[in-house]
Structures are given as C-alpha cells and as structure tokens.
C-alpha cells in the first residue's frame, strides 16, 4: 500500500512551516527528505507520525501504522538500554517482547551495555537505542529524522544496511531526513528537496544529480546541492 500525503500545510502563528506539501512513498521504497535547517523536515515527519496536527491536507496512513524515530532521542535516561526497549515493546504490545528486545540489542550492537542506564551512554549510543525503539513494532511505514547524524561511520553503515534490508525484505516504506547529501543519494530510491516549507524537487538521486551538475562538478555532491538551492532562491 502506498502512503500518500496531499496538500499538507502547517503554520506556527504567522510563520508557514509547510506549504501545500504532497508526496507519496511506496511499499519497500526509501524516500529521503533533504533541505536546509528550518526547511520543515521535522515538522513534516511529526505530522506523518501524528505528533503534530496539520492545518490542512490529508494523510493516507493513520499514526498507529507508523514507526517514528525522532531527531532528539526520546528514551528514558534513568532506565537501562534493556529496560527502555522492554518498556516500549510492551507498550507497543509486540507478541514476544523479550525476543524482540534481544534482537534489537543484537542489531544495535549494544548487548554489552544492555544493563547500563541510558544517561551514561554516549550521544551516538543513545541514538542507537532511540532508533531501535522506533523499529520495535515492525511498522509498515518508518520515519527516521536525521538518524545518522550522531553515528560513527561504521554504525552509520550498519544502520543503513539494516534499514535497506527492512525495505527490501519486509516491504517497509521508509522516509528519512538527512543533511548528508551523499548519504541520501546513495541509499534513497527517491529524493524530496524541501526549502522554506515548499517542495522544490522530487525525483531519483540520478535526476537530482543531473539537475545539480548542470555546469558543475560531478563529484562534489555538497557543493552541487548548495548551488542547486541557491539557483532556486534558497
């Protein structure tokens, strides 16, 4: 089943954070949302996750069917890694909480820190638990808000391989945001560029690259993307 968002608009007071945003993501597809700070990426994901209510627009999937990994770790600092995972597994009412917790400990590579309080973990390790919590319930749509920003290169690779596997094997639709343009181009099936709350591009990474490198350097993703934004007035 394809997930559709149609005409999503969100205002904070007089500031328009999202203006008439529409897109769709198919089963097993990875959609990257990129764009400058304050573009509205987190706002868009929060609306899809059911945290924020849109002022206008429709979503085809209820929040219940959506897994959510917020930009800031949303886990309890006073609970251990295992306790956090077990609590959310129970709240998600997964069939066998202990088995799922064991699988997630294995996946995050935090088995040896399982009984440490989360507050004593490094920022990156906390983020690994944050991601694991969002994956617990095997949701048909998974939202990841800058999941890799605090991870080391090896963990980053592990994360994307795992997410890619979810999409390929389980048919999970994945929407993620990132500031790493190369990462988006490498892992995403399609890319959506958001700037000042508006969609200024949707297409495959190849199409984005083609649009970027008109008269530019084909190897410098970042530079090409900045130029791409500047040419469109952002």
């Amino acid at each position: 089943m394809t997930t559709d968002a149609r005409g999503v608009t969100k205002r904070f007071g007089s500031r328009v954070a999202l203006r008439d945003v529409s897109f769709s993501v198919a089963e097993g597809e990875l959609l990257a949302i990129i764009g400058p700070n304050g573009a509205g990426k987190t706002t868009l994901l929060s609306i899809l996750a059911g945290i924020l209510r849109a002022d206008a627009g429709q979503l085809s999937r209820p929040p219940r069917e959506v897994g959510w990994v917020p930009q800031q770790p949303a886990v309890y600092g006073k609970l251990s890694v295992r306790e956090n995972l077990r609590l959310f597994a129970r709240l998600e009412k997964v069939a066998d909480p202990d088995a799922v917790v064991a699988r997630m400990l294995e996946q995050t590579g935090l088995g040896d820190r399982a009984d440490d309080e989360l507050g004593t973990l490094s920022g990156g390790n906390r983020q690994r638990v944050n991601i694991a919590v969002g994956l617990l319930a095997d949701p048909p749509l998974l939202l990841l808000d800058e999941p890799s920003s605090s991870l080391d290169p090896r963990q980053r690779e592990r994360l994307w391989e795992f997410v890619d596997g979810l999409a390929r094997r389980a048919g999970t639709a994945v929407v993620f945001t990132t500031h790493n343009v190369a990462e988006a181009e490498r892992w995403a099936d399609r890319v959506l560029v958001l700037a000042d709350g508006e969609v200024i591009f949707t297409g495959t990474p190849g199409e984005l690259r083609a649009a970027e490198i008109e008269g530019g350097d084909a190897t410098d993703f970042e530079g090409a993307f900045v130029r791409f934004l500047r040419e469109r007035g952002h």
Partner: protein
C-alpha cells in the same frame, strides 16, 4: 490498562534510581510540616516579667468583713502565667524592662492592702511594658487576663462577705467589723419584738403610731434586702460566659497541628511528584512517543495522578503512624485515615499534573508547585474575622477551589473526629481531582 501498569512500573523504577531527589521530596515537606506543627502547637514561652511587691512582709493578709484574704496567693497564681524576675525597687524594675531582661514590670504598691481594706478607694497596680509588638501584646494579654482573674476572685470574696452580712442583718447573728465582733438582733426578730410591744399597747396610744412606723420601716427594709443578694451576685460577675462552638473545628490545637503537618506534607509531595513526573515525560521527549497510539493522554494523566497519590498517601500514613506512636492518636480510626490520605492524595496530585502540564518543564513545574503550595497552605489557616469580610469571602473561594483545605478537613475529621465529617471533604476532593484532571488534559493540547 496494562499500558498503565508498565508506565507505573517505569516511573517507580525511575524514582527508585533518583534517591536524592526522592529523599528531598519527602524530607523537605516533612520538615516544613513539623515546623508549622511546632509553631502552632507551642505558644511563645512564658514572658519574663519584673515583679516588685512593695507590700511589707507579713502584711499581705487582709481581713475583709471577717474573711482573710492573702494577697500573696493571687501573686502566686499570676506566676503560673509568667516567669517572674524579682526586683527590689521601682528603678530596678524599669531597668529590667529597658534592658530587655524583662518584657514588662508589675509593681504592687505598699498601700494596696489598705486600699482593698476600704476607705482609700480602688487598689492600683502598675504595669510597665517594653518589647516588640507581638510579644508586648502577648504580655499585655497575659497580665490583663491575670489581673481580671484576681479582680474576679477578690470581688467574689467581698460579695460573699456582703451576702453573709446582709443575711445577719435580716436574720440576726454575729458580725465582724473593723471595730470588733458584735451580735446583731436582725430585722425579722426586731419586727417580732415590736409586734409583742404593740400587742401590749392600748389602741389609740401615741407610742403605738411611732412603733408602727418603725415596724413599717423594718418591713420595707426586709423586702428591699430580699433583692440585694441577687443584685450583689450580678455586680460581682456582671457577665457570665456560656461558651458554645457552632461551626468549625473543635479540635485542640495540638491535635489539629498533627492533621495540618500531615496535610502539608501530602500537598507538597503530591504536587511536586505529579508535576515532576509529567513534565519529565516531555523533557525526556518520550511524551510524543507515548501519546501517538501507545497510551491516551487521559490515561497518561491518570497514571501520574495515581502514582503521586499513592506515594504521597503512603508517606502521609507513615507520618500519622509515626506521630501516633509518640502521641495518643486513636488507632481505631485507621480506616478513616486511609480514606482521608488517598482522597487528599488524589486531589493534590490532580493539581500537580495540571501544574506539570502548564509548566511543561520539570524545573518550572517544581518552582510553580512550590510557589502555589505555600500560599495555599497559609490561606487555609486564615481564620474568619482576621481579615475583612470581602477578603475572607475571596479566601474561602480560593480554599474551596484548591485541594489543600479539603485535605486538611478530611484529615482533621479522620484523625480527630472534627467537624465537618470525612464524607464532605472526600467528595469535594474527588470533584477537584476531576476538575484539575480536566484542566491538565486541556493544557496537554499545547504540551
């Protein structure tokens, strides 16, 4: 329902790992509560009063109408209420007051006994005050009260003597005057004697008219004196007090202080805990994760209210049991204690989640909780009549709108059997729980 259980377990686990916080959360309110209790149950110490008795030694006993009155006895009674500092001269007394050694000086002049003995007019004692307004008013009240007692005792003694003398005047008998003891015939016997004389006189004799006039006078004097005894009673105690307490607590101050101390602890713990654990959900960013399908916002609030209510009620019960081990509380009322502490815990916790939902951050919530709880506790103690009627009406509305006063009433009823009974305040608290829960639910819209 099972989500509630997991959340409760989670919060308890977090509390268990926040030992310092929990210790503070419990000890701070108990310390405040005990301080308030102490301040309430013990009045100021006996005031120090310089005391100068200028009545010459051995002359403190005076005889009023044949009855010995020992002035020293009244002084002794006075010393129950004050801590006397004996001085030898008026100048020394004034020095003591000036230097602050004594808050006041009481001087009994040498002529007091003579004046009491009559002839010289009212006896006078001299009082010299110093000290700050609060203590001065306390000393003044104490001295006034003691002097009034002494006045009352003296005047009833004098009245008794007068009543006896009047009786002797009408019925005859022994009477003591400064001139010595004498036998009186009495008006009744005088009339009887006159009647005998009248019988022996022939009708129309001139003596008969004179004796009849004397008899008539004696008769009128008897009738007049019939009224004198009750009149004397009225003069010696012009106003008798019959005390009736209509509404409000009849609990003695010490027992009330127990209820108050426990209510204050309950309020602080429930408010700080409930607001804290709710705001913590947001601070840990977990709130968003929880309310998107895992638990409803109302269930989350219910869980926080329940957690804080149970914890604060348990601390309150332990406090009551602890106080009960040292003082004589009535253990037979334990069932009522449980109802009172849980009803109070629910009301105060609901106020707490409303504060937590409005403040949104743990630190802001704690500050707001403290800012609100202290004045609430004090407002509940303002007695009617201490402030203007309009102000008191406002205070009553505030007291009814927040859970502290009903908690205090419920505890006072449960522990001391005070009026109003437990039912009213408990229902009031449940209504406030619903109201503040609803307010918190509204505030969660922008949490």
């Amino acid at each position: 329902m099972s989500s509630l259980r997991w959340l409760l377990l989670k919060d308890l686990q977090i509390l268990r790992r926040s030992k310092l916080l929990v210790a503070l959360l419990v000890l701070y309110p108990i310390a405040i509560a005990l301080l308030i209790g102490l301040a309430l149950s013990r009045g100021p110490d006996k005031p120090k009063v310089a005391f100068l008795n200028q009545i010459p030694i051995g002359q403190s006993v005076t005889n009023v109408g044949g009855k010995d009155i020992d002035f020293a006895r009244y002084a002794d009674r006075f010393f129950d209420a004050v801590d006397p500092v004996r001085v030898r001269s008026r100048a020394e007394a004034i020095d003591k007051v000036k230097s602050g050694d004594a808050l006041a000086a009481l001087i009994i002049p040498a002529d007091t006994v003579d004046r009491l003995n009559g002839g010289l007019g009212q006896a006078r004692v001299e009082v010299i005050y110093n000290g700050d307004a609060v203590k001065q008013s306390y000393v003044r009240n104490t001295i006034d009260a003691e002097l009034a007692k002494a006045n009352g005792a003296l005047s009833s003694t004098i009245r008794d003597v007068a009543v006896t003398d009047l009786k002797t005047l009408t019925d005859g008998g022994e009477i003591t005057t400064p001139l010595g003891s004498q036998r009186l015939l009495g008006l009744r016997k005088a009339r009887a004697a006159l009647a005998q004389v009248l019988d022996t006189l022939p009708a129309g004799s001139p003596e008969r008219a004179a004796i009849a006039a004397v008899d008539d006078f004696a008769n009128q004097a008897l009738i007049g004196l019939e009224f004198a005894t009750p009149a004397l009673n009225a003069v010696s105690k012009p106003i008798a007090v019959r005390a009736t307490v209509l509404d409000g607590s009849r609990t003695p101050l010490d027992a009330f202080a127990v209820a108050l101390a426990v209510a204050v602890s309950l309020l602080f713990i429930a408010v700080l805990l409930a607001s804290g654990v709710l705001a913590l959900e947001r601070e840990e960013q977990a709130y968003g994760r929880l309310v998107r399908g895992l638990v409803s916002r109302s269930a989350l609030l219910a869980e926080k209210i329940l957690l804080a209510a149970v914890c604060s009620a348990l601390v309150a019960l332990v406090m009551l049991a602890g106080i009960g081990a040292f003082t004589g509380v009535d253990w037979g009322r334990f069932g009522q204690w449980v109802i009172a502490v849980f009803a109070g815990g629910l009301g105060c916790s609901a106020l707490g989640v409303a504060i937590g939902a409005l403040a949104r951050e743990v630190r802001a919530a704690s500050l707001l909780g403290l800012l609100l709880a202290l004045p609430l506790a004090f407002l509940a103690l303002v007695p009617s009549g201490a402030v203007a009627v309009g102000v008191y009406d406002v205070i009553r509305v505030v007291n009814a709108a927040f859970p502290f006063k009903p908690t205090l009433q419920a505890l006072d009823a449960a522990v001391n059997g005070a009026h109003p009974s437990l039912l009213g305040p408990s229902l009031h608290l449940l209504a406030l729980t619903v109201a503040f829960g609803a307010l918190a639910r509204l505030a969660l819209r922008r949490f």
